[in-house]
């Protein structure tokens, strides 16, 4: 990232502002196409090569893996066409999912997608204007989001182009509008953040930033899960009642536009198309005139901020802090304690790490809020279904464990992990065990304790205990499973901007396991005595996975070379 015209310090001299000429391009802030193309081509190249650094040197970049997952997801979405032949409904179903996924991945990857940390050292001293840098980053983001959106919407565009009214015209217009909708959704996320940084002093905002991420995740998820409520019809049967709600739901604007442009839409779709057009112009217009001007400087502030002091982060050893570090009591060796303390200090002081991890909490909280608002928790055993709020909440809870496992393996300072190899440790895997103990004791267990309390308030006690135990044990199982499948030393992986997209895709694909989980819930709902079998079985699976992990981790990590 670059500090841009004005450098990127935390403080500003009185004359530090670059003249912006009321948002018009000046000699100092004009868009330079040569530089933009150079920055964009390098950005894309880096995205595609990123994973080849660090441990393991995977042959297939995570970006490509993510695209494959999104194509599979898009294929599932395109199955909607079998249920309904209404172009608007198909578009709404697919575009809303695509917009949600892209916006969520930008929120979760914000620290690396928008604030590309390594750019600062390379570009800040070079004559690249803020406007050029901003649009280069946006173009890079558009490439990334466009590819994801294309993978998601492509299968439906192909199937819809052959089977739906409007034919090829529908396929093409649907695909283009799905792309536009996803780009707009991703852009809005970026612009909201950029505008927030412009309005609030970064110093103040940065403390709250990790929680802003949680809020953004929550808002997005709530918006998405509430869409079927807004529609008033039955999304499971893909029956949609058109009405005023369409004007409040952005995916409906783009779906209406796709339907209208293909010639197969209703008269009201024209208005939706107009709204989609105006909204897109507004979003990009605001960015072009205002946000791009001092974007580099604002981003520079992020890159050059002083590290959080121990006092700032609350890492100063107080009684409360010692209490929160109770997990270290379960660490058996010095290496485990070292791994625990390394992760503890990093989570306390590394804002970027926190901002990559914390958004995971927004998802289950959103599902919970949705369940409360719709009253679904009051009758938990009424009619268990695979895709009800319990399933979604369960999926998101499992996601928290997954997210922590993978996110805490990555760090901007991953090269410091050479010390894991240089130190004469009898078992290097103890470092990971210690780090996992921190994640489990400080974040996962308290989260589930909180969830339990939250569930008890809204559900009958027996149902809350049963459901909570199911989800908790499944999460522990997942926590061990991912560590086993993709073992990494703590903070030892380069931060990859395309990695999270793959994770989101993976989680979405994780439906099979969740289906099993929810089958267990249904069994318990139908016959409560089944809990006596299902819950111990899940607990046993979690324990076995954890024991297997401990015994095999050393062997799996032994093959990992340091490549810094």
């Amino acid at each position: 990232m670059k500090a841009g015209e004005t450098g990127g310090g935390g403080e500003r001299s009185a004359g530090g502002r670059v003249p912006s000429a009321g948002g018009l391009p000046t000699r100092e802030n004009r868009l330079d196409w040569t530089q933009l193309c150079a920055l964009l081509s390098v950005g894309i190249r880096l995205d595609l090569r990123r994973s080849r650094a660090g441990y393991g040197r995977r042959r297939v970049p995570p970006f490509v893996l993510a695209l494959v997952l999104y194509v599979v997801m898009g294929s599932f979405l395109s199955l909607a066409i079998i249920t309904t032949r209404d172009p608007f409904v198909v578009s709404l179903f697919t575009i809303s999912a695509a917009m949600f996924m892209t916006a969520l991945s930008v929120v979760m990857d914000y620290a690396v997608v928008v604030v590309s940390p390594e750019d600062y050292d390379v570009i800040a001293m070079r004559p690249v204007s803020s406007r050029t840098y901003f649009w280069a980053r946006m173009a890079n983001l558009f490439f990334y989001v466009g590819a994801m959106a294309g993978a998601l919407a492509g299968p439906a565009a192909i199937v819809g182009g052959r089977m739906l009214p409007g034919g090829a015209a529908f396929g093409v217009s649907f695909f283009a509008l799905a792309l536009l909708g996803c780009l707009a959704a991703a852009s809005v996320v970026v612009f909201v953040y950029a505008a927030a940084i412009r309005t609030v002093s970064y110093r103040r905002l940065t403390t709250a930033m990790t929680y802003v991420h949680v809020g953004a995740t929550l808002a997005l998820t709530l918006g998405y899960v509430f869409l079927p409520q807004l529609i008033g019809g039955n999304m499971r049967a893909l029956a949609v009642e058109r009405g005023a709600w369409m004007y409040w739901a952005p995916p409906a604007w783009f779906a209406g536009a796709a339907s209208y442009v293909s010639g197969a839409g209703l008269p009201g779709d024209g208005l939706l198309a107009l709204i989609a057009f105006v909204a897109s112009v507004l979003v990009f217009g605001v960015a072009a005139r205002t946000i791009s001007l001092d974007y580099s400087r604002r981003i520079g502030e992020v890159a050059t901020q002083a590290p959080e002091s121990a006092a700032d982060s609350g890492a100063a050893r107080g009684a409360w802090d010692r209490l929160r570090g109770y997990g270290i009591a379960f660490c058996r060796t010095e290496a485990e304690r070292a791994g625990f303390e390394l992760m503890q200090a990093s989570m306390a002081r590394d804002r970027k790490l926190r901002s990559r991890v914390y958004p995971a909490f927004g998802l289950p909280i959103a599902a919970y809020v949705y369940g409360v608002l719709t009253g679904a928790f009051r009758t938990p055993d009424a009619a268990p279904r695979d895709l009800d709020v319990f399933t979604i909440l369960g999926l998101y809870c499992v996601f928290v464990s997954f997210f922590f496992t993978s996110a805490t393996a990555a760090s901007d300072q991953w090269k410091a992990s050479w010390v894991f190899h240089a130190a004469p440790l009898p078992r290097r895997s103890d470092l990971m065990t210690g780090a996992r103990a921190l994640v489990l004791s400080r974040y996962v267990l308290p989260f589930f304790a909180l969830l339990f309390v939250m569930l008890v308030f809204v559900m009958p006690l027996a149902a809350a205990v049963s459901y909570w135990a199911l989800v908790f044990l499944a999460s522990l199982f997942a926590f061990a499973l991912l560590s086993f499948a993709a073992p990494h030393f703590p903070l030892s992986q380069p931060v990859e901007r395309t990695g999270r997209a793959g994770q989101l895709g993976l989680i979405a694909m994780f439906g099979a396991l969740v289906a099993v989980l929810m089958a267990a819930r249904r069994a318990i709902a139908v016959m409560p005595a089944a809990a006596a079998v299902v819950l111990p079985a899940l607990a046993a699976a979690a324990i076995v996975a954890e024991l297997a992990l401990r015994s095999r981790l050393e062997r799996r990590l032994a093959g990992r070379d340091f490549d810094g």
């Binding site: 670059v18 390098v42 050292d121 001293m125 400087r297």
Partner: protein, 265 residues
């Protein structure tokens, strides 16, 4: 050029940087004329790199100004930055690019004509002994190889002012020798060099002028001979130690040695 003649190729006026209430650089003022090699010395944490970052637009000064050939790095950053080449202290490279790709990229940022980029890239890679590795991603490079790429990138647009922050770091003896000669040659051609280093012998041999920074303040400024006379010391190392040492160095060495071996006397 008129502005530069009037003011100097590099001008700092009361340059100051504060981090969370701690003053890293405390009002540094310097005028470095065209063609001069200015050595910028100081102990660790003295504020050398912070000064370079402010002068090159990477950090915003808390107060004061930095002019590059008359252009204010804060108010006229594009003009100022076009004139400078920077070898930063820590590797500012996209390591997942090849050296050739990286040099092309940097050349394009400075609008160097494509044919010139190709010619210069090939020449730099050959002269710095990187031809064989030119198309390998730089994650596999040694520190010295990355440093050679950084030096090439700093020179590819033919800047008139060079900021070199520990440029010899990681270089083998032959490449270091080449670089030292190159710096002299470039200065003779009228380029201005701001040279930060801890290697006092090199500074003594290469620089026309030496500025010593301690705790963010300039504590000495002159040519090597003047500094020796001022401090009545026989070498730049002794001058540096007298001006910046926190205390008795031999006592410090003894204490450290005892700590390492555990043999407290």
């Amino acid at each position: 050029m008129d502005r530069e003649r009037a003011e100097g190729a590099i001008v700092f006026e009361g340059l100051r940087k504060t981090y969370d209430g701690v003053e890293a650089v405390k009002g540094v003022s310097l005028r470095i004329p065209r063609g001069q090699i200015c050595g910028y010395l100081g102990p660790n944490g003295a504020g050398k790199t912070t000064t370079v970052k402010m002068a090159t637009g990477m950090l915003l000064p808390t107060a004061g100004t930095a002019l590059i050939e008359g252009y204010d790095i804060v108010r006229e950053p594009m003009e100022a930055k076009r004139r400078i080449g920077v070898v930063p202290e820590t590797g500012a490279l996209y390591e997942n690019l090849t050296a050739r790709e990286y040099l092309r990229f940097v050349g394009r940022l400075y609008h160097v004509p494509p044919t010139e980029i190709e010619d210069k890239t090939a020449t730099f890679l050959r002269l710095f002994g990187l031809s064989d590795a030119a198309d390998r991603v730089m994650t596999s490079y040694s520190k010295g190889m990355k440093q050679r790429v950084l030096i090439s990138a700093a020179l590819i647009h033919n800047p008139s002012v060079l900021f070199l922050d520990e440029p010899l770091s990681g270089l083998d003896a032959n490449t270091a020798l080449v670089l030292k000669e190159l710096i002299r040659e470039l200065a003779a051609q009228g380029k201005t060099v701001f040279y930060c280093s801890h290697v006092l012998e090199v500074v003594e041999r290469v620089c026309h002028r030496v500025v010593i920074l301690n705790h963010g303040e300039v504590v000495a400024d002159g040519n090597v001979q003047e500094l020796k006379e001022m401090t009545r010391q026989g070498s730049l190392e002794a001058v540096f130690s007298q001006l910046t040492s926190p205390g008795d160095l031999s006592e410090l060495v003894r204490a450290l040695s005892e700590e390492v071996t555990g043999e407290h006397r």
